[in-house]
């Protein structure tokens, strides 16, 4: 049994509709509908290992703002976004916080840190 995935390429504004066929082991056997090599590469990695950067906010203790923004320093597997969000929602930072400060080291054991993206001064 082969598995067929339809996706929209995001590498440029054209937005090609790409069809990816995988075999039972998940190996990509065919990529159709792309019009350039970048689309081919995107479709391949998107079906085998889709990744995303997660951006959110965390509570700030003693700062001039109630929350500040954070991001995963690198991409994490798409399927782990909500696990990552749970960890972020349980976290907080103490003011003052600077851009790049680590809020969560190695979030969910994914090997990626969650870092501050907006500085907050002490209240």
């Amino acid at each position: 049994m082969s598995r067929i995935t339809e996706l929209t390429c995001i590498r440029c504004p054209i937005g090609c509709q790409i069809t990816v066929t995988q075999d039972d082991d998940g190996k990509v056997t065919e990529i159709k509908g792309n019009s350039c090599p970048r689309g081919y590469e995107y479709a391949g990695s998107e079906v085998t290992n889709p990744v995303r950067t997660v951006t959110s906010t965390v509570h700030v203790e003693g700062g001039v703002l109630p929350v500040t923004s954070v991001k995963t320093k690198g991409d994490i597997p798409k399927g782990r976004i909500f696990d990552c969000m749970q960890a972020i929602n349980a976290a907080s930072v103490k003011a003052p916080a600077a851009i790049g400060d680590v809020v969560i080291r190695d979030v969910c054991g994914l090997g990626v840190d969650v870092i501050v993206t907006r500085a907050v001064a002490k209240a």
């Binding site: 951006t55 906010t57 509570h59 923004s69």
Partner: protein, 439 residues
Amino acid sequence: MNADKKAKIVIIGGGPAGLSAAAAANEAGAAAGDILILERDNVLGGILNQCIHNGFGLHTFKEELTGPEYAARFVSTVQERGIPYLLNTIVVDISVDGDGSKVVSAMNRTDGFFTVRADAVILAMGCRERPRGALNIPGYRPAGIYTAGTAQRFVNIEGRMPGHEVVILGSGDIGLIMARRMTLEGAKVKVVAELMPYSGGLKRNIVQCLDDFGIPLKLSHTVTDIRGRERVEAVTIAEVGPDRKPVPGTEETYTCDTLLLSCGLIPENELSSQLGVELSRVTSGPVVNESLETSVPGVFACGNVLHVHDLVDYVSEEAANAGRNAAGYVEGNGSEGKPEEDGTPVQVIAKDGVRYTVPSSIRIGRMNDLQLIRFRVGAVYRDASIAIDFNDTVVRTQKKRILAPGEMEQVILKKEDLQKFEGLKTITIRVDTSEAKKQ
């Protein structure tokens, strides 16, 4: 008229456009102390502070940054150079004095009401969202209806969720971004309805903000009813026909407590029009020449107050140009310098699917070796071309796999080409659809 303060260049707005304009004006020779930024918020950075998602800066810094990180880089530059700025300061009026200098009237809690005399003014006020009142949506007026940007501020700055079950009208980028943001925070986003047959948002946002979370996007749909007296209880959406009117019998009702509106951005030009700056009826932004100078000499415009951009990187680039030109103006190379050397301005005309161009006129004597023309198209075109005519002669056609209203387009003109063309009066930018498929 006596003014309370003096500056060579006053910049209205401390968002991405104002910050970049300030830095570039300084680099081009204006002393830091001769520049003054007036910002109405309590921090610099403008709307970027609430745009916590990533994807900013790929052109400017060759890396993907979040909005606050992108803003912070420009804020540091302005602070390191010692360019003065006033926060919590609202500008209420700009006028031109008898000697051509500008008087900016503003107020804040520390200084009260005050005036600043300036040689040049850079308009960088940005834009605001089209509110419900401008959309003619039938139904009650309960709590729970927000523009997407207001909801974004609640969630990302105030740390509060505006609701838990959400319907979004309009597929602009902020609406798409908020669909994902509210989903991540535990809300259920039921549907995004878009009046047009195409989305006004970027492709990557449709995929990563809607498709990733299984949120349906209904094109050619609009809201026909809002229910609930105190708080939104349900929203009805219906399909629209080619005339954009709802088709009876296609109504679907979604229970929800929140309706977000992402239905377009409008440049904020009250100050500009009071000043007498000529505005474009298409963009609602000032009409500018190659130097991004408005119809009032010495008043420049850049960023979303000029025309709504898709990427902040282009705002920074455009604003830097405005900053350099303003610095040149105050150094005495201004438009009142030697107009005879500039010749008659060449008009840039938008036609056949091209909605507008920035700039809309070029003084060849004042243009750089390369002149960027930015514009948007009014519909989705596949395999069309962008044609450039000098007077009535086609001088270039550029094939485009896709043209979409959500993406800003550009062409670059060479000064030597304009100089070589005898008797050049108009440059027309148009969509050539002879081989194209319009959707």
